[in-house]
């Protein structure tokens, strides 16, 4: 009969004589000693401060890699140029974009190279515009992002009306996108909460028989898109360019009423009146304000760094379709476009 497990929890109380257990400390010690060998033999490389006349210093530069490939290729280009042209060591940290801001504010991270303005109004106000903040806007990166509504191109081929928002006014066409979550209405798969989303307002103000379901993460949107695409099913998603998904799937942007400033007048208070397309997102860079004094050369390079959407897509395609590593793609771009990056050097 085995009743060593009691109802109160699965903690087993052994009440045997305790002296038996005292027998093997030597073995335990030998075991732990092997594990914890030379805990003292640690070498943490803490090298700080000290700048030379050329503007280079021996400070280690820490760059934030945010969780998408665009961010990774920007950082790889900057990393290779800082190390080869300025001679400072670069470390990279993979980190959520929102967590990046406080870390740059303290100077623990030196810079992040691809911020999407639409998702960071609050952070800009708190860390850049705030006089006590320690984050500086380091100018535009170059590529222009754009949020929009996307459907697989095979849907447009079957129903050409769906190329514009007017097509979704037809309840029968909208119903093609219906799911168990939305009943008779079409489903609009809303995105990762890190981006601004006015889709509920747009849908209400345009009077579309469509309902938003929030996917909750970029991974969820991509998985849903991949699944629908593989089964050639209808799907209407929130997505943006540049994005790796466009290399993998043939997608068409649904045309919404053109963006105007008046249409976005209510955007600051939640955007209840928004009834038009998203504005373009001019991607920008942020650096720690300390960088200008501690590593001026790096600060100059990162501030001047600017290339085109085509430049970035060249690297993204190498990574996402040719299977190159991020580092190799960046190195190939540096090799091919010296004129572009030479202009960034201090």
């Amino acid at each position: 009969m085995n009743t060593s497990h009691t109802y109160k929890g699965e903690i087993m109380i052994t009440t045997g004589p305790s002296r038996r257990r005292r027998g093997r400390p030597a073995l335990a010690v030998a075991f732990v000693a092997t594990l914890g060998l030379a805990a003292a033999a640690c070498g943490s490389d803490d090298d700080a401060g000290g700048s030379s006349s050329s503007g280079a210093s021996d400070e280690v530069i820490t760059l934030a890699v945010n969780p998408w490939n665009g961010s990774a290729v920007n950082v790889a280009v900057a990393e290779q140029l800082i190390e080869s042209e300025i001679g400072q060591t670069v470390e990279t940290v993979e980190i959520d974009e929102n967590a990046t801001w406080p870390a740059i504010n303290t100077g623990d991270i030196s810079a992040a190279l691809e911020m999407w303005p639409s998702g960071h109004a609050q952070n800009v106000a708190d860390f850049i515009d705030n006089p006590d903040g320690n984050v500086a806007n380091a100018g535009l990166l170059g590529p222009v992002g754009k949020i929009g509504w996307y459907i697989p191109t095979y849907m447009v081929e079957q129903h050409p009306e769906l190329a514009t928002w007017e097509g979704f006014q037809d309840p029968e066409l909208a119903k093609l996108f219906a799911t168990a979550e939305t009943g008779d209405k079409g489903q609009f798969l809303g995105g990762d909460p890190s981006f601004v989303q006015y889709d509920e307002s747009i849908i209400a103000n345009l009077g579309l028989p469509v309902e938003v379901v929030y996917a909750g993460s970029e991974e969820a949107i991509l998985a849903a898109l991949d699944a629908a695409y593989s089964r050639e099913e209808p799907i209407l998603v929130y997505l943006w360019t540049p994005h790796s998904a466009h290399n993998k799937y043939d997608l068409t942007e649904v045309e919404l009423p053109a963006y105007t400033d008046e249409c976005y007048a209510s955007a600051a208070d939640g955007g209840a009146d928004v009834a038009c397309d998203y504005p373009a997102d001019e991607l920008f860079k942020i650096v720690s304000e300390d960088l200008a004094s501690s590593s001026p050369a790096v600060n100059t390079l990162l501030t001047k760094m600017n290339y085109t959407t085509a430049d970035q897509i060249e690297m993204l395609a190498a990574v996402e379709t040719d299977g190159k590593s991020i580092e190799d793609a960046a190195a190939a771009w540096i090799e091919a476009h010296p004129d572009t990056w030479k202009a960034w050097l201090p």
Partner: protein, 651 residues
């Protein structure tokens, strides 16, 4: 808290659910449903929970955030306390990591093998060797060590902090009363919400990850220490007192050594909890295996994510087997030989470390990511709707959504007005236990409304109930099987270990591909996660049924099925309620994951808190609502368990 004993004494020896109790419960439920219906009709016009009552925690939390940003570089709180603390901790983690990286690979294989050999025997030793080699073969060696070092520091901190608190709480009922809800909240409050505020306090990286891990991993060791010391047989303590030991001597020389096995069980759970946070810690730069999982998922590389995720499973299994073996002092194998080999490993380690034989030989690496990717691709095309027959994961998902989740949500969020809901929950508390429980439950539920989280909470509750029902529908029958057949139990144990420790993030993409974005994929992930606990506790309960009782039932001519239904299950009922309780807790802990796959509800609000700086306040409100929901469901299920236990076992 005694259940009225059944009318005639004979049912005691051959117990079943007394007919009278069943009838009474039936009447109570019928009356409750009728009253709820009437009250809902009468109060139908009350509408939503009044927004003007919203206490609005969001505002003060945003203000606090602003203050932190303004003072992050200058205030003494940072320069004198937080920054030095971060530096020291970070130094310790880095030192440990570089030490671990210095040790040659074969030493880890040796340590894992010898450790398991010593505590569990030779076969386990081979498992250790294979498990440690997995990291090398799958080429996640460095990530594994990085995770191991963060874990090592987190678990060490948990022991250093948790054991004294546990001892303190075992000596004082008042401390225990205060500690218990705090520990519960630490485990149920979603980490997503405090991750970003923590980066404001401690900046990014290992320290923040460590603290987030610690919050989640501390409770089990505190509880285990407390319980372990409290549950010692009084005779031994009296003997110590009689032989003239002081209170302190008794604690150190008697209580503590006797409670050691229990504390080790707690340590084991602490390690498991810490490992379950590895992926979340990677969101703020902790890297390691969690970082690999996240990176792979960004581009939907399920196979690569599974490889790293499986490495976390392997680490959890090896540590679990070692520490649970260690907790049983009677289980030691070939100590002389193990000792000899362990000593021989010291020079081998030193030589390898000095010569730099640290990396696993690369010609031995192998990858199964491609195979998994192909399997997932195949499944999303072929299982979604098998041959367009209307059978498959897609139609199943629609069925669950339309028939169960949506009606339940409408019932809770719309059809039953909020005052009726609060009254109903209070009535359940009153029927189960008494006024105190009733008042507590009502207050907790009202607080959710005051936080402005009523509707989202009802949505989440509806999802949790469906997930719980599915878990129990699968878990209890499987538990019955494993209790009856040892072979089944042995066969599914690795699957259960896998389900319990595989990071839920790895499952995100496959569940969406199979079940569509919405509330079902989150529920499926929750079912997979909670299933092991449901099976385990059912199994435990059935195995605890005294053999004599079972034999008596058989000799009275009961068939196998009669015995199961009339004897075994009723006797195991309290333990099965523990299964229900654990299932609910685990399902609730998956609410956040549901938010990541389209489940909405409270989960989406906590995800928003991670993703958007202006949503931290709302995230906290949603987090508190989750804690309160967990507390309500926990107290209710525990009260039911108490009523089900036979008087002799009631507390």
């Amino acid at each position: 808290m005694t259940v009225a004993p059944a009318a005639d004494g004979a049912t005691r020896s051959a117990p079943g659910w007394p007919q009278s109790t069943l009838a009474r419960v039936g009447i109570w439920v019928a009356v409750g449903v009728a009253l709820t219906w009437v009250a809902s009709r009468l109060l139908g016009s009350v509408g939503e929970f009044p927004q003007s009552w919203d206490v609005g925690l969001a505002e003060p939390i945003s203000d606090a955030r602003g203050w932190l940003i303004d003072n992050q570089r200058t205030h003494w709180l940072y320069t004198a306390i937080l920054d030095p603390f971060s530096d020291v901790t970070e130094g310790a983690i880095e030192a440990l990591e570089s030490t671990l990286l210095w040790i040659p690979w074969y030493s880890y294989v040796g340590i894992a093998g010898l450790g398991l050999w010593w505590t569990r025997g030779r076969a386990a030793g081979l498992l250790g060797v294979a498990g440690a080699s997995y990291f090398g073969v799958l080429d996640v060696w460095e990530q594994g060590l990085s995770t191991l070092s963060l874990m090592g520091v987190a678990v060490t901190c948990a022991v250093v902090i948790g054991v004294p608190i546990g001892v303190w709480s075992s000596r004082s009922d008042r401390v225990q009363r205060v500690a218990r809800p705090v520990l519960d909240a630490m485990q149920t409050f979603p980490g997503f919400v405090y991750l970003i505020p923590f980066t404001l306090l401690f900046s990014f990286g290992p320290v923040t990850s460590l603290l987030a891990t610690l919050i989640f991993a501390l409770p089990p060791i505190v509880r285990a220490t407390d319980l372990g010391i409290r549950n010692l047989p009084p005779g031994l303590i009296d003997a110590a007192a009689m032989s003239g030991a002081t209170e302190r001597q008794t604690l150190i020389k008697v209580r503590f050594p006797l409670a050691r096995p229990a504390i080790l069980v707690g340590l084991n759970q602490t390690i498991n909890m810490a490992l379950s946070l590895v992926v979340i810690a990677a969101l703020i730069g902790a890297g390691g295996l969690g970082g690999s999982v996240l990176r792979a998922l960004q581009t939907l590389q399920v196979g690569a994510a599974a490889e790293s995720g499986l490495a976390i499973v392997v680490m959890a299994i090896l540590l679990d087997r070692f520490f649970s073996g260690l907790a049983d002092p009677t289980s030691r194998h070939d100590p002389a030989r193990v000792k000899l080999l362990a000593i021989a490993m010291i020079p081998a380690t030193l030589v390898g470390g000095i010569l730099g034989w640290t990396t696993f030989p690369s010609q031995l690496t192998w990858s199964f990511a491609g195979g998994i990717d192909r399997a997932v691709e195949w499944a999303q095309v072929n299982l979604f709707d098998i041959a367009d027959s209307g059978i498959g994961t897609g139609p199943f998902s629609d069925f669950i959504t339309i028939r169960f989740i949506t009606p339940l949500r409408e019932l809770f969020a719309q059809d039953i007005p909020w005052p009726v809901m609060i009254g109903l929950v209070a009535a359940i508390g009153l029927a189960l236990s008494g006024w105190r429980l009733a008042a507590g439950l009502a207050a907790a539920l009202a607080a959710i409304g005051l936080l402005g989280m009523w509707e989202l909470s009802m949505d989440t509750v509806a999802q949790c109930i469906v997930a719980m029902a599915m878990t129990l529908m699968i878990g209890v029958p499987v538990g019955v099987l494993t209790a009856r057949y040892d072979r089944v139990r042995a066969a599914i144990r690795p699957i259960l270990d896998f389900l319990q420790t595989i990071p839920s993030f790895v499952l995100l993409v496959p569940v969406i591909m199979l079940f569509n974005v919405g509330r079902v994929p989150g529920i499926m992930a929750a079912v997979l996660y909670a299933l092991p606990a449901a099976i385990h506790y059912t199994d435990l309960g059935l195995r605890g049924v005294p053999a004599a009782t079972r034999e008596a039932a058989t000799s009275f001519g009961a068939t196998g099925r009669q015995r199961l239904l009339k004897v075994d299950l009723p006797l195991a009922a309290p333990q099965i309620m523990v299964a229900v309780n654990q299932t609910i807790m685990l399902v609730l802990s998956m609410v956040v994951i549901a938010g990541l796959v389209g489940g909405g509800g409270l989960g989406l609000e906590t995800v928003r808190a991670l993703r958007r700086s202006d949503s931290v306040g709302t995230g906290f409100e949603a987090g508190i609502a989750i804690v309160l929901l967990a507390a309500i469901l926990d107290r209710v299920t525990r009260a039911i368990a108490d009523r089900l236990s036979p008087p002799s076992a009631a507390r």
